[in-house]
Amino acid sequence: MKTPEELHRILADKFGDEVFELKQDEPVAPWIIVKAEQIREVSKFLRDEPGLRFDALMCLSGVHYHKENALGVTYHLFSTSEKHKLTLKVIMPEEDAHLPTVEQIWKTADWHEREAYDMFGIRFDGHPDHRRILCPDDWEGYPLRKDYQVQEFYRGMKVEY
């Protein structure tokens, strides 16, 4: 059982300080910002390192920070053996939002990453089945972006009612 602060220290010792940023003054629990290109190595380390053993990815969500023109991916990790939780965040610029997939580390990420791609247009490099999941494959736009405009027609059917 480790607190996010301790986990942050472990990660900073391993990968270097510049990769991480700890957000502390949160109402519920602090979280750690990770650089996009590092998320895969960090995830693998978090899963396999004895004493950390984050074997479960509870949730993976995309977020659109429209005021900052950024897209984010939030990873909620949990360890079934150590019983500690950790929240990781990756923030990317809106126009070039892509990051390595963690599908090979936690299979849960498979569908969640597809959902994040479907809803936010975040691309996950190395995902084996990278296509939309909830919307049709030829849907235009990413519905959960704050500036999303629904298309007028879909395959000849009027969308807005």
Binding site: E26, P27, V28, A29, W31, D55, A56, L57, M58, C59, S61, V63, H64, T74, H76, T80, K83, T87, W106, K107, T108, D110, W111, H112, M119, D129, R131, R132, I133, L134, C135, P136, D137, D138, P143, L144, K146, Y148, F153, R155, G156
Partner: protein, 395 residues
């Protein structure tokens, strides 16, 4: 009108080349679309099956037929409380549990404490809902296997629970009963006696169900050793709830990550033991649900004993819901597994982001991994034993 696009991009399915069967005929794999209109996909799930005879060599689930973009709806609400009816419509057979999860997430974010009466009513309601949902799951599972009759026996009992809900909330399926900081209204005066009567009458019915279905030879033959989900695979895929416990993992958020007042009750976590076959087969997942109903009864009985008679159920309901800027991920145990809400607030009354980590969505993703080598009839059993609700998968 724009033209209809003829060719839809999608994954290419490559079939193995035709094989000479030795008598001048050639055999080849066949791709068959199971759903979205199929009696046993529990809604509008579509499975793209590649079959070798009747044996499944590849299964690709296609979802999204019920997609309503609940998350976009939430962002369009100007009040956090208005999200609750949408939450109901995710897992529409366990609406109480969905509400409870959302209410608890919001209360933690806003640091609201509710009084004991509210807590006990919430627990009783959500455990009753768990029984109702498991009854549906068990009944339809029997239906998938071909046993029609237990399904209706389960429905008779489920009706009694819905009657209790109807008395309290006025609705039978989608309640909007558990509010942020309280309840819509207090339970009726005869709630305690009604619930106690139900608990008393329902206990023997579990035994009846076991006699009817669980220990039927054909039923066991059809479900044991079918769709085995090993423990490691289950955790890696994020499977939760009875499907995870069926694989022998003692994991229940009510015990392992307690929320509400679940730490005040004594109950057991049921795990699959491979009684009829291998640990983690369809029969194990099924029997976990059956015995969990018994555990829920235990919780309800204890809660009825301890429940205070006084207390204003709307005491802590905030006038204006304006949570501090920040975010929370809060998870609760619904009948289908771990339901997590990821809520981001930007200090306004409109939710910035509400994401639901739906247990059915995650549980369904394991399907391709455990269905290779099964037969078409087994597919039906596997889908039934995972117990998905498409409203929640697609949200």
């Amino acid at each position: 009108m724009t033209n209809v696009k003829e060719n839809r991009p999608g994954p290419e399915v490559t079939l193995s080349p035709p094989v000479d069967a030795g008598n001048g005929l050639k055999t080849q794999e066949m791709v068959i679309s199971m759903g979205p209109q199929h009696p046993s996909t529990h809604g509008v799930l579509r499975m793209e099956l590649t079959l070798n005879g009747e044996i499944v060599t590849r299964a690709i689930p296609h979802i999204g037929y019920l997609h309503r973009c609940f998350e976009k709806h939430s962002e369009a609400m100007n009040d956090y409380a208005k999200v609750i009816p949408y939450v109901d419509r995710m897992d529409y057979v366990a609406a109480m549990n969905n509400e409870l999860g959302y209410a608890i997430a919001m209360e933690r974010l806003m640091d609201i404490r509710v009084n004991d009466r509210v807590e006990y009513i919430r627990v009783i309601m959500s455990e009753l809902q768990r029984i109702a949902s498991h009854l549906l799951a068990v009944g339809t599972f029997g239906l998938d296997i071909g046993a029609f009759t237990p399904f209706l026996y389960c429905f008779i009992e489920r009706e009694k629970i819905l009657d209790i809900f109807e008395k309290a909330s006025g609705a039978r399926l989608l309640y909007n009963y558990i509010w942020i900081g309280g309840l819509m209204n207090d339970v009726p005066a005869d709630f305690k006696t009604d619930t106690a009567a139900f608990v008393k009458s329902f206990r023997p019915k579990i035994k009846e169900l076991n006699d009817l279905l669980s220990h039927n030879k054909i039923f066991i033959d059809r479900t044991a050793n079918v769709g085995v989900l090993p423990e490691k695979v289950a955790i890696n895929y994020g499977v939760s709830g009875p499907s995870l416990r069926g694989s022998g993992v003692e994991w229940d958020l009510r015990k392992d990550d307690p929320y509400s007042i679940y730490d005040r009750f004594e109950f057991d976590v049921i795990v699959g033991q491979g009684e009829m076959g291998t640990v983690g087969d369809c029969w194990d997942r099924y029997i976990v649900r059956v015995w969990e109903m018994e555990e829920s009864l235990k919780i309800i009985e204890q809660a009825l004993d301890q429940m205070p008679d006084e207390g204003d159920v709307q005491e802590a309901v905030p006038k204006k819901i304006r949570p501090p800027a920040g975010e929370i991920y809060c998870r609760t145990e619904t009948p289908r597994g771990e339901l997590g809400y990821y809520i981001i607030s930007d200090k306004s009354t409109t939710p910035f982001r509400v994401k639901a980590r739906a247990p059915s969505f995650v549980n369904l993703s394991v399907l391709p991994a455990i269905s290779i080598g099964a037969m078409v009839a087994d597919m039906v059993a596997i889908i039934g034993s995972i117990d998905i609700v498409l409203g929640e998968v697609d949200r």
